[in-house]
Symmetry: C2
Subunit: 144 residues, 2 copies
């Protein structure tokens, strides 16, 4: 188990039950992927067949609120969760319209943008950016 994660769990005195551990393991096994709650449930049941869906939702919610996971709404009105690598470092997404794969975009692409808005009197606390298009593999394939 990752040290930082462990630290966060303690800091929130969060009891690590076997259900919560199963969910965390699923997220760690899928580092870099963006899983829906349903997908997490499927995977978690391979480790713990009786885990209930309410528990999975509750756990994902809790982990997201401690910034251990990112929770993002993608097309189709479904939330997806991914392991947060580095605390406060938000990043953004490119969704391939063909294969559906989700790639990451580093934060610093957005530098300067928030400043412009703050010059207009807004106070920005968060933002969310998604690109839709074709990834390098799909781009040149015939069946876009």
């Amino acid at each position: 188990m990752d040290k930082k994660i462990n630290a966060k769990l303690k800091e929130n005195n969060y009891k690590l039950t076997e259900q919560r551990e199963a969910v965390l393991e699923v997220m760690m096994d899928n580092r870099g992927k963006h899983l829906s709650a349903e997908e997490v449930l499927q995977e978690a049941r391979r480790k713990l067949p009786n885990i209930g869906m309410a528990t999975v939702y509750r756990t994902l919610e809790k982990l997201a609120s401690m910034n251990i996971l990112y929770k993002t709404m993608f097309e189709g009105g479904k939330f997806r969760y991914e392991l947060s690598d580095d605390e406060s470092h938000r990043h953004h997404h490119i969704v391939c319209l063909k294969c559906g794969k989700i790639y990451e975009v580093e934060e610093d692409l957005l530098n300067g943008l928030e400043k412009k808005l703050e010059n207009r009197g807004f106070e920005i606390v968060d933002h969310e950016l998604k690109f839709y298009g074709y990834c390098p593999e799909c781009r040149n394939s015939s069946t876009k």
Copy 2:
């Protein structure tokens, strides 16, 4: 009725029933606002008391598919619709976390970003950017 809109309707040979007209009027009366389907239904019923919610959903969907409306998913997993002022000119949003008001951000803030991604082999066809924070009015008020 706006000329451009009328042209688009014709171009898609879209029959302007009284229900559809009511929905369009609501959107035009609320230019600049971002309405949920439910809100459109409420307003539309003031003009046409028997209009059904399925009709409102269908109509909003149709108008969005002709680019007469923008359809955007905001927090809470709800779509909101707004009148599209200018055809292909996408814009983005700042959502005030206090009053919920939605402000617009002009496109050109993002210039250059897509190019960087295209240099990496992606082909970008669309994007979506939302900022969350406090608007100038709410920023200095005591009860953030």
